[in-house]
């Protein structure tokens, strides 16, 4: 036995010695095939073995025990094509790795699924979460402006907790609700903006009918699909982000001081005695003015800067996020927790705060080899605290401040009480009590995906259920505080209002909704040689219950078939068949098909086998045509006749009064959805292996059945009103261009430029314009929302000019007939050249409120460990009207701003920014609805700017981190706009909404 063992050991040792003689060291260098740059950290391993090494700082590697005859070395690196090289006796092997063409592997999220990017023939734009996470904003609707072609963003309010921007995809084609459909993780959801950007994997915008037809009756306005991050196989990866920002509102109106405001009030004949302090009745005007000028009598002639008194120069905002992801072969997870805190912009106000906790847990479990369960839970809790006086908005405080009169009384009396007769804004801000609201939102879904390869390869089934709920509960505690007018002569106070202590005032807001969603379907994906076929069919049902209302419900079927031949020719049919409870029985369902085709020219042999492939690395043509719907309407159940209690009658003897029932507007028994017929033709291209890229899309839409108010065209003899009818028609055509340039100059420096440009113009083709309107006054033929205005030509500069101009006295629509036009008044265009300015001279002109033109240019770069980027974003061809406080002096209280101080006077006529004041009633010819009131929406913003520094890995590893980056960023950094006094996005016609904010941010992001 011993001998046998000895023989075996000897034999084994001999074999090992022979083997060792054939195994030896192999060395080499790995570089980038395009730049020659050494690649650090490339995995180098023997095929079939787990043993391996990685390249060092110079791209060199040394691999031990390589069998020179039989081993194959595998070189793998993130972002590069994995390369296998047989050793074949070589002891030194240098390798050039090619960058992976993302086109082959990258998946693009589409409606109810995902497709390889090269096979996508719909118009879809995507940004990833890197474009969102470091922007210091409270919600992601503010982060996307200028980053995606075809997406128009208008942020009309910066009020904390209510600052979600309006989003339009390729403009608007309806005068009804034009907001896109929001889909988060495959489920239609009512909002997306408050998702923590750290939770987001991709943000996709589906624009043409091919992409949105699967959403059928809800897809006409475009679809935004947000996919949240999920775990992947590997050790736990922990990421943490901390950022803190200084924020400030942009372009707050700055009222004039008391002296200048008084001067302007004196200039107006009615203003002589307006708001004169009661103590000085009988004094001379010069005396009052002198007191305001010198500030000698602050108790009687105050000079309160209400805006400056209540508004902070800046406020603060903090954001935190920690997330962990990873997984085993069977379970993958992504867990994220985030927190944002915003402080308000009111001075001495420690109440106004908004905070939000975000939580997400995405779990994927392979129950068997063919069955996967996916659980997605997203939750957030929002807390909003504010003074009780701003429960509904900051209108009374913020707008009140810039319109307030600072000349009549100070903020505080000598004894510390609030001065005034009931309108002291500081009292209203600080002594009205407080309001607290909590809004809790849960978005959850569970899906099971079963591979059905045992039936046929590539077939799978998926069922999904979702449950969402939100509850908003706001309660207020109010108190009353009296104001006092101080009489300096008698040193006495007159009380206005009562003093009542703080007390619970009940529930101010209580809103709840619940949503149930069910989905089940089959999908199929199979290759047959050069042929690839995919298919999808699913059924879904959605129910949304808001408070105690009848449930909103829709259900339908979705279908998709795609075909690709040899990765060159692509065809796709998408259909949605769905209906809504909002339409009459028998007319509830609609069928929405879309057809698309694509040709990947760069995969043709005449390209791949020619020198052209060195220039054109990707070129795809695609086109689509389809029909989608929009079921949104302001009123529900338009097909039902409604009645209301109204009026009554006396019946019989005595005073027996009986309430009556009155028929409401006549029901529309055949109401249906809007239908959009959309076409899209475009190409995607890349040149010089990604050095340049250009995508162009031409799109067009015809929308009909738009719900329209028809009361204006009903005959006079019809006594009742009508409900809206599907008679409106519009068209919308445009172009999108995306340009990309990426350049790795050397191993230390690279840069990229991305630009997008979108232009679209819609036109009203049919709308119920009132009878009797002149052709140029109808909405038909003009973009949606184009105002009917007179054209303002400037100011009359002399009587001679007035006498030689068309008469404006004849106007009865705006000017009282006894008001004489004098120099300094507005001069209008005699549009129809009849010598008289009257209502026939108003015509449709300008633009609607949604910009026709939007663009963005992002420039980014890396130099060693530093990175830098900025985004220039702009829009044009839109306007908004400015009226009341923000436009006209003294139109509501004491609102006069710098522009009013440049009033017309003969001496400064060339520099005038406002009409004359002298001897004018505030109701004058300025009451015209004219271009004088139109604010331009044209602007360019330095939207974001960011600079970052990534710690060297040697340091971060010592700190037990895999990477760490510190960065400075800002949002709304600089604005150039045609409109001087307002942020052009701040579209409230009275300027009463808190404007959007500018933010400067410092952040730290670490990964473990």
């Amino acid at each position: 036995m011993k001998q046998l063992i000895l023989v075996i050991v000897t034999l084994v040792c001999t074999l090992e010695m022979v083997s060792a003689q054939q195994r030896t060291l192999v060395t080499g260098k790995v570089t980038d095939a395009a730049t020659g740059e050494e690649l650090i950290g490339v995995n180098v391993a023997r095929k079939g073995s787990s043993a391996g090494t990685i390249t060092d700082m110079d791209g060199n590697y040394t691999l031990e025990a390589v069998n020179l005859q039989t081993d194959i070395l595998v070189f793998s690196y993130v972002g590069y094509v994995t390369t296998e090289i047989p050793v074949q006796g070589h002891r030194k092997i240098d390798v050039q790795l090619k960058e992976e063409t993302k086109l082959l592997t990258e998946l693009v999220v589409v409606g109810y699924g995902a497709q390889k990017k090269e096979s996508v023939v719909g118009s879809i734009s995507t940004i990833n979460n890197k474009a969102l996470v470091s922007v210091p904003v409270s919600n992601i609707s503010q982060s996307i402006a200028g980053k995606i072609a075809g997406v128009q963003v208008v942020q009309s309010s910066g009020e904390i907790g209510s600052d979600v921007a309006d989003i339009y995809i390729r403009g608007r084609s309806t005068w009804n609700d034009a907001t896109p459909l929001y889909v988060v993780d495959g489920i239609v959801r009512s909002e997306f903006a408050k998702i923590d950007p750290n939770e987001i994997e991709s943000f996709n915008v589906l624009k043409d009918a091919s992409a949105t037809a699967v959403y059928g009756v809800k897809g006409a306005n475009g679809v935004i699909i947000i996919t949240t991050r999920r775990g992947a196989l590997g050790k736990p990866k922990i990421s943490a982000t901390v950022q803190t920002a200084i924020t400030q509102p942009i372009n707050i109106p700055q009222p004039l001081g008391a002296y200048d405001a008084s001067n302007l009030a004196y200039l107006q004949d009615w203003g002589q005695y307006k708001n004169r302090p009661p103590q000085t009745k009988g004094g001379t005007l010069a005396y009052d003015l002198a007191l305001w000028r010198t500030g000698a009598s602050p108790w009687t002639h105050s000079d309160v800067d209400w805006v400056g008194s209540i508004m902070k120069d800046f406020s603060t905002q903090q954001q935190y996020n920690v997330n962990v992801s990873g997984g085993t072969t069977n379970v993958r997870y992504f867990i994220s927790g985030g927190f944002i805190n915003q402080n308000g912009f009111y001075e001495n106000d420690d109440m106004t705060k908004y905070s939000r906790f975000n939580f997400r847990n995405n779990l994927d479990i392979d129950i068997t080899n063919s069955l996967t369960a996916s659980l997605s839970i997203g939750a957030r809790v929002e807390n909003l605290n504010s003074p009780a006086s701003t429960i509904w908005s900051s209108w009374n405080i913020y707008r009140g401040a810039f319109a307030a009169n600072g000349r009549t009384n100070p903020i505080y009396n000598p004894n510390g009480t609030y001065s005034g007769t009931g309108g002291n804004i500081m009292r209203s801000l600080r002594e009205s009590g407080y309001y607290k609201s909590v809004t809790s939102t849960l978005e959850s879904s569970l899906s099971l995906t079963q591979k059905l390869d045992f039936i046929t390869k590539g077939l799978s089934a998926k069922v999904q259920a979702a449950f969402d709920t939100q509850g908003e509960n706001g309660r207020s505690w109010t108190k009353e505080t009296a104001e006092y007018m101080y009489d300096q002569l008698t040193n006495t106070y007159q009380q206005f209002g009562e003093n009542r202590p703080l007390g619970y005032n009940g529930v101010a807001k209580n809103n709840n909704w619940t949503k149930f969603y069910l989905e089940g379907g089959l999908s199929y994906n199979q290759n047959f040689g050069d042929h690839t076929v995919t298919g999808l069919i699913l059924a879904n049902r959605n129910e949304f219950i808001r408070n105690a209302e009848v449930a909103f419900a829709d259900q339908g079927l979705v279908g998709r078939v795609t075909y690709d031949y040899d990765r060159r020719y692509f065809a796709e049919v998408n259909v949605g068949y769905n209906g809504s409870e909002n339409f009459p029985p028998g007319l509830q369902y609609g069928f929405f098909p879309a057809f698309a085709g694509g040709w990947l020219i760069s995969n043709e042999k005449f390209m791949t086998e020619s020198a052209l492939s060195q220039v054109i690395s990707n070129l795809k043509l695609r086109a689509s045509l389809g029909w989608v719907g929009n079921d949104k309407s302001n009123d529900r159940f338009i097909f039902l006749q409604d009645f209301s209690n109204a009026g009554g009658y006396t019946f019989g003897t005595g005073n027996n009064y009986y309430n009556g029932i009155r028929q409401g507007d006549i029901a529309n028994k055949v109401v249906t959805w809007e239908v959009a017929r959309k076409f899209n033709i475009g190409f995607e291209s890349e040149f010089f292996n990604g050095l340049f890229g250009l995508n162009v899309d031409l799109f067009g839409e015809f929308r009909n059945n738009i719900l329209t108010n028809i009361d204006a065209v009903k005959p006079e003899y019809v006594g009742a009103g009508f409900k809206v009818a599907n008679i409106g028609e519009t068209s919308n055509n445009g172009i999108e261009i995306e340009l990309r340039h990426n350049k790795k100059v050397n191993r230390n420096f690279s840069y990229n430029i991305r630009a997008n440009f979108t232009y679209n113009r819609n036109k009203v083709l049919k709308k119920a314009d009132p009878l009797g309107l002149l052709p140029y006054q109808k909405e038909e033929g003009y973009p949606i929302g184009t105002p009917l205005m007179y054209t303002h030509l400037g100011y009359f500069n002399s009587y001679e000019e007035i006498w030689n101009s068309p008469s404006q006295l004849a106007v009865h629509n705006g000017i009282p007939s006894n008001v004489e036009v004098v120099p300094g008044d507005l001069k209008f265009l005699d549009f129809n050249n009849d010598g008289v300015i009257n209502r026939d001279d108003a015509y449709r002109q300008g633009y609607g409120t949604v910009p026709e033109l939007q663009y963005g240019v992002t420039v980014g770069g890396n130099y060693k460990a530093f990175d830098f980027s900025f985004l220039l974003q702009g829009s044009a061809h839109s306007l908004f009207m400015k009226q009341w406080e923000i436009m006209w002096a003294f139109s509501n209280n004491d609102n006069v701003f710098a522009k009013h101080n440049y009033y017309w006077a003969p001496e400064i006529a060339d520099a005038a920014e406002f009409t004359r004041f002298y001897g004018k009633s505030w109701v004058n010819n300025e009451r015209y609805y004219s271009t004088y009131e139109a604010g331009s929406g044209t602007y360019i913003r330095l939207k974001n700017i960011e600079m970052g520094y990534t710690l060297p890995s040697s340091i971060s590893r010592k700190l037990l981190m895999s990477s760490a980056r510190i960065y400075l960023s800002s949002n709304n950094t600089f604005l150039w706009s045609v409109e001087k006094y307002l942020d052009p996005d701040n579209r409230d016609n009275r300027g009463g909404k808190m404007p959007p904010t500018r933010a400067f941010n410092i952040g730290l992001s670490v990964n473990f």
Binding site: N263, A286, R293, S798, F866, F868, L872, E907, L942
Partner: protein, 223 residues
């Protein structure tokens, strides 16, 4: 690195704000100024002896005092010789001065075309009551362009309607354009613009419709 620097500073180059400097400082306007001359549409105006005595005291606190002797003879020789208003500077370019002005506002009969006057019981015209209805007194600012402002000289321009200048207290009105209010009472003005009659109505109305350009030149007396 040069590329990186270029990218870094690009936004700054694009958005480098233009800087405007105000032309004149308010402090340089303060002091006592003596009127030297007035021109109307480029021609030197003929001034009465009373109009030639105008002085302006521009005080740092925003008060403006002005002195002339146009009304000195009123109230038995005790008429006012000093008046006050306020002043401010806008953008270092314009000088705002508030002063008493009278707005021409007589009522004219639509039937007869006659200017309305108030009559006494004996049917004679009640001049005081009439002019108080025919003219509205306001204390409002006039806006001058500063043409020149040095330690020694100030030149300011006012383009306005002839009547706006003629019936303003500032810069000494012509004595013939005003009349004395007898027995005005304590604290009341003893001067008022002249009576508007059928004879002068159109002339005065025309004055308020005719644009003129006035240039006022001053010499500094003391700081």
């Amino acid at each position: 690195m040069k590329y990186f620097s270029l990218l870094f500073f690009l936004p700054a180059f694009i958005f480098l704000p233009a800087c405007d400097d105000d032309l004149y400082e308010p402090a340089s306007a303060t002091g006592l100024w003596e009127q030297v001359a007035i021109s109307e549409d480029g021609s030197e105006m003929n001034l009465t002896p009373e109009q030639k005595t105008v002085k302006l005291m521009i005080e740092p606190n925003g008060i403006l005092r002005y002195y002339h002797s146009v009304f000195q003879a009123y109230a038995n020789g005790n008429g006012p010789t000093s008046f006050y208003g306020t002043w401010s500077m806008l953008d270092g370019t314009w000088l705002n001065i508030s002063t008493d002005k009278w707005q021409f506002n007589p009522s004219v009969s639509a039937e007869t075309g006659k200017v309305a006057v108030t009559r006494k019981p004996d049917n004679s015209i009640d001049t005081l009551a009439s002019v108080q209805k025919q003219w509205a007194k306001n204390h409002i600012q006039a806006r001058f362009t500063i043409l020149k402002l040095t330690d020694q000289e100030m030149e300011i321009r006012l383009k306005t309607f002839e009547g706006e200048k003629r019936y303003a207290l500032l810069f000494a009105p012509h004595p013939a354009d005003f009349l004395e209010i007898k027995n005005a009472g304590a604290g009341k003005d003893v001067y008022f613009p002249k009576l508007v009659s059928d004879d002068n109505y159109l002339t005065i109305r025309k004055e308020f419709q005719t644009l003129k350009t006035y240039v006022f030149r001053f010499r500094k007396v003391t700081n």
